[in-house]
């Protein structure tokens, strides 16, 4: 199991050092000297130094490293390190050197609680707050992620469907790969121990129901259903129930949590299409034209659109003309960044650039990195729709109707690239 856990700043100074097992020796220095001070690109997140294994992650400038002498479950250690980051973020916000120093006592308390002899223990923020807020009540219940006796005057639920749509397109407009990875993020303020049931337009569920109902029903709903490649759930969801009935039922944690993640690859709505045209004029000039087309209902508005066109390292000057928004050549990033605040569906816009190049005798060709795009749209590119979210709390006197529920869909670009 984990033998020790260390947090360093970018210089390799130790901010937190908690040793769980003696066998790791002076691991805290070994990692600093061999990995942080090596100042090279990280070639592997797992390093073995003098028969001690180090698994590390980085959050902005902060290094988190776990050390061990044993054949630990590496996946678990990384999951734990991420979880540790989440927990810290939930307690004091961004993980920065300042915040870590400001909260070091708290972090030690947390580490004492969520890692015992190197074994991860309950790490749900909601439940942790009962241990680490200095109140002397409540302990391990049957359900690790929710404490008993929660009360709200107003029972309220917020549900966000957050999707990131990923695309890799060839210069000719052929989709090389596309997938949506989505998350259903909830914020629940419910009293007692409520049972929830969540329903969406999952093709398997709809098809199953369709068999019972009339053919009209199938035609109507079948069209809107989506095929989910795979999904994973928060630990509160009864997985065996999902496995047999494909129904999503759970007792929710209190506050924020991510109910599920899913991935789809079929019938994705690609909100934008990027059409690049790159022409090399002689050895010192490059002409680039990029057209973007929005591909969704014209009543909807996409926001925060940004197109990033990489330029060669030898660029000496750039001239830009764009129909909409603002475009800038950023020499430090070797890219032209074109920003458009808003754009309605079924529209088209373009940018042209003339790039001057320094003459070089470097034989190596420019690698032409892909053109990438960022945006945000108010719908789910996968086509996912929330059908219901029912709440039952048999012991307290509120019913499903009394719960105020909110839902929202946000589609964002993940890695949305077009090769040129």
């Amino acid at each position: 199991m984990i033998g020790g856990l260390f947090i360093y700043n970018h210089k390799g100074e130790v901010l937190i050092s908690r040793v769980y097992r003696d066998d790791i020796g002076n691991a805290v220095d070994a990692f600093r000297v061999n990995v942080i001070h090596a100042r090279q690109q990280v070639r592997s997140p797992v390093t073995n130094i003098a028969r001690t294994s180090f698994l590390h992650v980085k959050r902005s400038n902060i290094w988190l490293a776990a050390a061990t002498k044993q054949n630990v479950n590496a996946t678990m250690v990384f999951e734990f390190l991420y979880k540790m980051c989440d927990v810290m973020a939930a307690y004091f916000g961004k993980i920065s050197e300042e915040n870590v120093k400001n909260n070091f006592v708290l972090i030690y308390e947390l580490l004492d609680e969520i890692l015992d002899f190197g074994y991860p223990q309950n790490s749900e923020t909601g439940a942790l707050k009962t241990f680490i807020t200095h109140s002397n009540t409540v302990v391990t219940g049957q359900i690790g992620w929710r404490r008993e006796g929660i009360k709200y005057r107003r029972n309220e639920l917020f549900l966000d469907v957050l999707e990131s749509v990923n695309l890799l397109m060839s210069p000719q407009g052929q989709v090389l790969s596309a997938h949506v990875s989505g998350r259903v993020v909830m914020k629940s303020y419910l009293s007692g121990m409520p049972e929830c049931k969540f329903g969406m337009n999952d093709k398997i569920v709809i098809d199953k129901q369709g068999k019972g109902g009339g053919s009209e029903d199938v035609a109507k709903s079948g069209k809107q259903s989506i095929a989910i490649d795979d999904c994973t759930f928060h630990q509160c969801v009864r997985l065996s129930k999902f496995d047999t009935e494909r129904s999503i039922s759970f007792i929710p944690p209190d506050g924020d949590y991510e109910l599920m993640r899913y991935r789809t690859t079929k019938d994705i709505i690609l909100p934008f299409r990027v059409i690049p045209l790159v022409r090399e004029v002689g050895r010192t000039r490059l002409e680039v034209k990029v057209v973007i087309k929005s591909n969704f209902k014209s009543s909807l508005l996409a926001q925060k659109i940004e197109v990033r066109i990489p330029t060669p390292l030898t660029t000496s000057g750039v001239q830009l003309i764009c129909m909409k928004g603002k475009a800038k050549y950023k020499a430090s990033e070797n890219a032209i960044v074109w920003k458009v605040k808003r754009m309605a569906g079924m529209k088209e816009s373009q940018i042209s650039a003339e790039i001057e190049l320094l003459p070089t005798n470097d034989k190596k060709k420019w690698a032409r990195p892909p053109i990438s795009m960022n945006f945000e749209v108010p719908f789910a590119p996968s086509g996912l729709k929330v059908r219901y979210l029912k709440v039952f709390e048999p012991k307290l006197n509120y019913s499903d109707h009394d719960v105020i529920k909110w839902v929202r869909y946000i589609g964002r670009s993940g890695i949305y690239e077009t090769r040129c």
Partner: protein, 972 residues
């Protein structure tokens, strides 16, 4: 559903980010802690001392925080020990925790003073607040001072039975801590039993921690039956699995993976209960579930519907892992690499998800590339090549190299793509980017090997780049090409001569290659290159200190001077085909790594013993036995412990060689290399002795010249000769064994020269020094089981006896025998011709199992009458007919018939239909089962490659075995 549509609008008016985390701040302690990091002035310790002894609670707390901050940055604040410990008696939980933290760090350096804390701990363990009870027992376990552990026992005993589950789960882990400090104490105090009881606890978190603690303790006692996994406990674990935290699920799944189900039904039912875990958000839960499934799947019959369903269920979660954070992706990819090698079918349609993204970290890119090559097939090769071409223009040198190499691998793997691959490689060579060119040349060499006389036209282009090659591998590859195609390259002698100038500065790889290439050149163009060859031979033999090089030089020299014709035959011999896959992990290691999915071993692709110190790593895990693979799993379940041993190949070079190889195994029996390593060594030595000579000469198989790295193990082994005693153990009339062994190291009985190879049935490590290897033969109508018993222990072994378990054909030893405890019932997954044997001596009883060739069951009167044959053939239902293909068999029908006759397979009739010879054959097993066969042979074409065979039998189970026998006989 209406609530959504009515309320959507209001909500969407909120701007992003939606919900600020206002409540977060209250948990951070006042935003002022960082100041503790900055107090570095002199006299600090004295000041702190004063503050710690202050009457004001707040000031005390502040002081302790400063102490902890100093401790964190590595300052020695141990001098404050008594003052800090004085603060321990407090109601303030935060202060208490800080003091405990200090204690854990310094108690070991101040053991006497640490005793001062004991009273408080003991008192805290009685506190009404369960948080304080748990905190006390948790901290006490972390104080590794012997004197304190004595006091820990009583509180721990109470806490293990505490009414509060939070305390119990903490106490469970504390047992593991205590065991790490003083294992004997834990055993004496009976904590292990209490821990075992906790597996039945009502709270799932307690169960999970108990499982984790027990697993860890069991790891350091490989032979203890601590984690007594039986169907009842498994059921308890599976129930807790559904309810406990994500981490608990991982502990339980990792523990489950060590269990070996009794049969395929149990295996399936566990799989069914584990599969829902594949939808867990925590990747570690998913991968641990995959591990359990991959392992238990081995036991499922492949024709089972459920088997196919399970295979399909595995792909989506594995793909999902690739959308996790990069570090997790890396771990997942390393594991997928193993999974793809073991079961390529799972991900064969998922190539696209392994395409490299521009922003992937380099470690993810490299791993993806590896998997892309493994998944490349005719169906997806066009896409793969297009991708690889993109990658070859990237920036990272390692990545580009790997991409170039991958293009070459594709050419070798998918013949249809070879031409495009070669032209892509030529394009890349034209870029003149140094490392791209070198990498391309290395792979083109392999392409030449794979497709001789097809792409040699590109040699001219390659030769143009001769000067830019500065890496040994590329130089060696180029030299190989020049030597191999010397007759087509006009100035081959000049080219090679140019390398010869700096001969001594080259790496060994290049030197060896150059030597061979020049000898090849000489054999092809003897007239003009005599001087050159003499030059290289003298450089290699007289001026070199490298024994490999010198020996190779001498061999060539002698060969050329004694018999140039033979030299030509050896050096220019036809080369064996190169394999399509490279970097495949050796099967036994792969099996072990599959058992370690998700762990560091699967990331390193090394067994735990390679990087874990002490006893924990020694245990080797195995997949449960199925068709012809794997030794038994290290399982406490004795029933499953007797699966078959892989037939470790010992060459049929006669007894001397066999014994030599046995010697090889002996030097360290106690701490000796584990079985898989041993067999590797064995193979190495065998290579050197038998096939090694060819490879030494003309043929630079895969690793260019690498396989000649002399094997000193052989020489060393001669010194430590053990008492090896070959004994022929005939089934009828045994009993002489005792006497034989009393001779102790006497001369072995001579054995027949025609012996088939013996396989190690029972490795010495498993049988307290007794190694048994053996073989089955049929001589003069009698089935004989010949065994070599080797005593590798220090003491004399006596009182041998043997017994067979009940088996499919009722084989039994034909002598008076002692009755032993029966073995567990035969498992259905084992092959029919599996024999479970028990051998006893004065030390213990050992069980092992081995397979006998079915041919020894064929009796001499197995020739059926023609008429009877026809009738029987019709009589047996068609369902019982099995068809097989025998590939690469170069025999005509008569030769085949003769060969088969010698193993009691009789040809009854022969006819020729459409240029095919049909042989009708029969054989009879000892227990009276008749097997009828129709063998179809392509007549008139001596080079036919495939013949097919139909087998009919009333007991169709034996068909597979019979077919294997056919194949063995015909190909031999």
């Amino acid at each position: 559903d209406t609530w959504i549509s009515t309320q959507k609008k209001i909500h969407s008016q909120l701007s992003l980010p939606v919900y600020p985390l206002q409540e977060n701040r209250q948990f951070g302690s006042k935003m002022t802690d960082s100041k503790y990091f900055t107090t570095t002035k002199k006299g600090e310790i004295f000041e702190l001392k004063a503050e710690l002894n202050s009457d004001k609670k707040e000031k005390k707390k502040e002081a302790v925080k400063k102490v902890i901050a100093s401790m964190t940055v590595g300052k020695d604040v141990s001098a404050l020990f008594p003052d800090v410990v004085n603060c321990m008696q407090t109601d303030n939980l935060e202060l208490k925790k800080l003091v405990y933290l200090y204690l854990m760090n310094y108690a070991k350096s101040q053991p006497d003073m640490a005793i001062m804390a004991v009273n408080t701990f003991v008192k805290d363990c009685e506190d009404p607040n369960p948080l304080i009870r748990a905190l006390a027992v948790r901290t006490m376990g972390c104080i590794r001072v012997d004197k304190i552990t004595e006091y820990l026992c009583e509180p721990l005993r109470k806490c293990l039975k505490d009414e509060d589950p939070y305390v119990r789960k903490t106490a469970a882990v504390c047992v593991a801590k205590l065991h790490d400090i003083n294992a004997q104490l834990v055993e004496d105090q009976g904590f292990l039993d209490t821990l075992k009881d906790l597996i039945s606890d009502s709270n799932p978190m307690v169960v999970a921690n108990a499982v984790a603690a027990l697993s860890e303790i069991a790891e350091s006692h490989p032979n203890s039956n601590l984690l007594d996994l039986n169907p009842q406990t498994i059921n308890k674990l599976l129930t807790a699995l559904n309810e406990c935290t994500e981490w608990g699920q991982i502990f339980i799944l990792d523990c489950l993976a060590n269990y070996t189900p009794r049969d395929d039904r149990e295996s399936q039912s566990i799989c069914e209960r584990v599969t829902p875990r594949l939808s867990h958000a925590n990747s570690a839960v998913v991968l641990s579930a995959v591990k359990v499934l991959m392992k238990f799947m081995e036991m499922l019959p492949k024709d089972l519907d459920y088997y196919g369903t399970l295979l399909k269920k595995l792909a989506p979660p594995l793909v999902t892992l690739l959308s996790a954070e990069p570090e997790l992706q890396y771990v997942a990819l390393r594991n997928i690499n193993l999974i793809v090698q073991r079961r390529p079918e799972i991900l064969k349609h998922e190539m696209k998800v392994f395409f490299v993204k521009y922003n992937d970290p380099i470690y993810v890119k490299l791993e993806k590339l590896d998997i892309m090559i493994r998944l490349a097939s005719q169906a997806n090769i066009a896409q793969v090549l297009a991708e690889l071409k993109e990658y070859a223009t990237e920036v990272d040198v390692d990545f580009v190299r790997k991409a170039v190499r991958a293009i070459g691998r594709c050419a070798i793997k998918v013949e249809q793509s070879a031409e495009r691959c070669v032209s892509t490689l030529l394009d890349l060579i034209q870029t003149k980017v140094n490392y791209v060119v070198q990498e391309a040349i290395v792979v083109i060499k392999d392409i030449f090997r794979k497709y001789p006389n097809k792409y040699e036209s590109v040699i001219a282009t390659l030769c143009e780049n001769l000067d830019s090659l500065d890496e040994p591998e590329a130089r060696a590859a180029m030299i190989w090409i020049v030597g191999e195609y010397a007759e087509r390259i006009d100035n081959a002698d000049e080219l090679l001569e140019s390398f010869l100038e700096g001969f001594h500065d080259e790496s060994t790889q290049v030197q060896l290659q150059l030597l061979t290439a020049i000898v090849k050149l000489f054999l092809k163009k003897p007239t003009e290159t005599q001087e050159l060859v003499q030059q290289v031979l003298s450089l290699a033999t007289q001026d070199s200190d490298n024994p490999d090089l010198r020996d190779r030089g001498y061999i060539y020299w002698r060969l050329l001077s004694t018999d140039p014709v033979a030299a030509k035959e050896v050096v220019l011999a036809e080369k064996p085909l190169i394999s399509e896959e490279t970097d495949l992990i050796e099967p036994t290691l792969l099996e072990e790594l599959i058992c370690h999915i998700g762990t560091l071993a699967s990331v390193y692709h090394k067994p735990p013993s390679a990087f874990v110190e002490g006893s924990r790593g020694v245990q080797h895990k195995r997949l449960p036995g199925s068709a012809g693979s794997g030794e038994s799993v290290e399982s406490p379940d004795p029933g499953a412990a007797a699966t078959e041993t892989p037939p470790a190949v010992i060459p049929s070079q006669g007894d001397l060689l066999g014994d030599l190889l046995n010697l090889d195994l002996t030097p360290t029996t106690t701490t000796g290399p584990p079985p898989p390593t041993t067999s590797g060594m064995q193979m190495g030595a065998m290579d050197l002795l038998s096939g090694g000579l060819d490879s030494l000469m003309g043929d630079e198989s895969e690793p260019l010249g690498g396989d000649i790295g002399g094997n000193p193990a052989m020489g060393a082994a001669f010194g430590a000769a053990p008492a090896t005693m070959p004994a022929s153990f005939n089934a009828p009339g045994s009993g002489g064994l005792d006497d034989l062994f009393d001779l102790g190291g006497g001369v072995g009985m001579p054995m027949g020269a025609l012996n088939p190879p013996k396989a190690v049935w029972l490795p010495a490590m498993k049988a307290k020094g007794l190694e048994i290897s053996g073989v089955f033969v049929r001589r003069a109508g009698v089935i004989q089981m010949e065994m070599t018993l080797t005593n590798k222990a220090m003491s004399v072994m006596t009182d041998f006896a043997i017994q067979f378990n009940r088996n499919s054909f009722g084989l039994a030893p034909a002598g008076p025998l002692q009755i032993l405890t029966p073995l567990s019932p035969n498992q259905s997954i084992e092959p029919l011709n599996n024999l479970q044997v028990a051998v006893k001596n004065n030390i213990d009883v050992f069980y092992f199992s081995c397979q006998y060739p079915i041919s020894m069951l064929f009796v001499e009167d197995g020739k059926m009458e023609r008429q009877v044959f026809l009738a029987t053939w019709k009589d047996i239902p068609n369902d019982n007919e099995s068809q097989f293909q025998i590939k690469d068999c170069h025999l005509n029908s008569d030769a085949a018939s003769n060969k088969l006759q010698s193993s009691n397979i009789f040809t009854i009739a022969k006819r020729t239909v459409e240029g095919q010879d049909m042989l009708y054959q029969s054989m009879k097993l000892t227990n009276g089962i008749w097997v009828l066969a129709e063998l179809r042979v392509q007549a008139g074409n001596p080079n036919y490659t495939v013949s097919s065979i139909s087998l009919k039998c009333r007991a169709p189970e034996v068909s597979q075995c019979v077919f294997q026998n056919y194949e063995a006989v015909l190909k031999n």
